[in-house]
């Protein structure tokens, strides 16, 4: 199916512009057109699908569902799943966190949402599909969900409720379950369609620049980084490779669009796929800007537990991927 983008680039670069397939310029342009068109179309399609799900299950409805039903453990899965589907915006993470906690949703389930939300999102999925194919994308998404579920479950068991910031506890006192009532809007699918399309389009245009930068950066690195360059430091037989990659990545903050092409170069130049995936998870899942936002709603002990546990789990996942996956 993705072949169509190769054909598009063939036609545009070799037939229309008239570059020789053997020339350096021709190859570079071809690569650029193929990858950019592929990623943008994938991104639009995925955003569109997620947009449809979000139109029918807005976060207020999910919260209402989680508050009112007894789900016997399934709630961790649902919270994590909706963390993945809801478009992630770091500026929304605080209102979401508070909205969940105040609605009476246990802290562990809120964490399940909070962990998966930045890890699995439309941009990451589109980039992974385009660069690594279906198998690695599925592995990434499933790991992101599991990480949220297991991480949320353990954080929930730690009884950190008293570690919420004082002002959050203050709001909590005043809130009642009635706050989470959700009134369904009855709108037909055809009427929702323009909204969903526009929203998907705004996601694509919002990350367009990062996609272009990421693809260009990846292309340049491919040309200049020598073969096996990283293999010396980050190969699988060095036990410290995964923890090192993860700990380096935590303070880094990059959009999934910018980081996936770079990771693809790492893998092509000899970094094991598990180490690369763990690096990616740490870059998008944990970051200093997110930490400064979360610091407003939680005390240091909770922050430490959250960041520490997620970091640890990402490192463990990295080791597991290296054992189980071959690329």
């Amino acid at each position: 199916m993705l072949k169509i983008f190769t054909l598009l680039a063939d036609w545009l670069i070799y037939d229309v512009i008239g570059c020789m397939p053997t020339s350096h310029l021709g190859q570079a342009l071809h690569f650029f057109v193929e990858d950019t068109s592929k990623i943008l179309v994938l991104l639009f399609l995925i955003s569109f699908l997620m947009g449809i799900v979000n139109a029918y299950f807005p976060i207020e409805k999910v919260r209402h569902f989680l508050v009112t039903r007894k789900l016997y453990g399934l709630e961790y899965f649902i919270a994590s799943l909706f963390g993945a589907i809801t478009p992630f915006c770091s500026c929304s993470s605080i209102p979401l966190f508070i909205g969940f906690v105040n609605g009476g949703i246990p802290l562990g389930i809120t964490f399940a949402f909070l962990i998966t939300s930045p890890l699995v999102n439309e941009v990451a999925v589109a980039m992974f599909l385009g660069y690594f194919g279906v198998r690695i994308t599925v592995v990434y998404v499933v790991s992101g969900l599991l990480l949220g579920m297991v991480g949320g479950f353990i954080l929930g068991k730690l009884k950190l409720e008293n570690q919420l910031s004082d002002w959050v506890k203050e709001i909590q006192k005043g809130s009642t379950a009635a706050n989470t009532n959700y009134v369904e809007e009855k709108v037909s699918f055809l009427h929702r369609l323009p909204d969903i399309t526009r929203e998907s389009w705004s996601i694509v245009s919002g990350v367009l620049l990062y996609v272009l930068i990421g693809i260009s950066l990846g292309a340049v690195m491919h040309g200049y980084v020598p073969e096996h360059f990283f293999a010396t430091y980050l190969s699988a037989d060095k036990w410290y490779a995964v923890p090192l990659a993860v700990i380096l990545a935590v303070p880094m903050y990059a959009n999934a669009a910018g980081i996936v092409p770079v990771i693809e170069v790492f893998v092509a130049k000899g970094v094991p796929i598990g180490t690369a995936l763990a690096f990616m998870m740490a870059v998008v899942g944990l970051s200093l800007p997110e930490a400064t936002l979360l610091r407003k709603v939680m005390k240091w002990k909770m922050m430490g537990a959250f960041f520490g546990l997620v970091t640890l789990f990402i490192i463990i996942s990295g080791f597991l991927f290296n054992l189980l996956l071959t690329w």
Binding site: I59, R63, S90, C91, P95, G99, R198, E199, S202, G206
Partner: protein
């Protein structure tokens, strides 16, 4: 009419405020448009997704980047 745009300052929130101001001007209505950035106040509206639009104290939209047409409809 008292219009508030709730949001902590991400690009979407800025865009919504601009759209609202444009709509107010186009419709020629008397309205004050303010941007509310204080998280505690925003949460007081029981809003989980920003940007949100509040007209005369009532939340009419949240988590959406409304088009000019949508905003005009909400203001009319």
């Amino acid at each position: 009419m008292d219009i508030k745009v709730l949001g902590t300052g991400c690009s979407k929130c800025q865009a919504l405020k601009a759209t609202v101001e444009e709509a107010v001007k186009a419709l020629g209505i008397e309205a004050t448009v303010t941007k509310e950035e204080d998280m505690i106040v925003i949460l007081g509206y029981n809003v989980m997704r920003t940007p949100a639009l509040v007209i005369d104290g009532k939340v009419v939209a949240q988590g959406k980047q409304l088009s000019l047409k949508d905003v005009k409809k909400l203001l009319a």
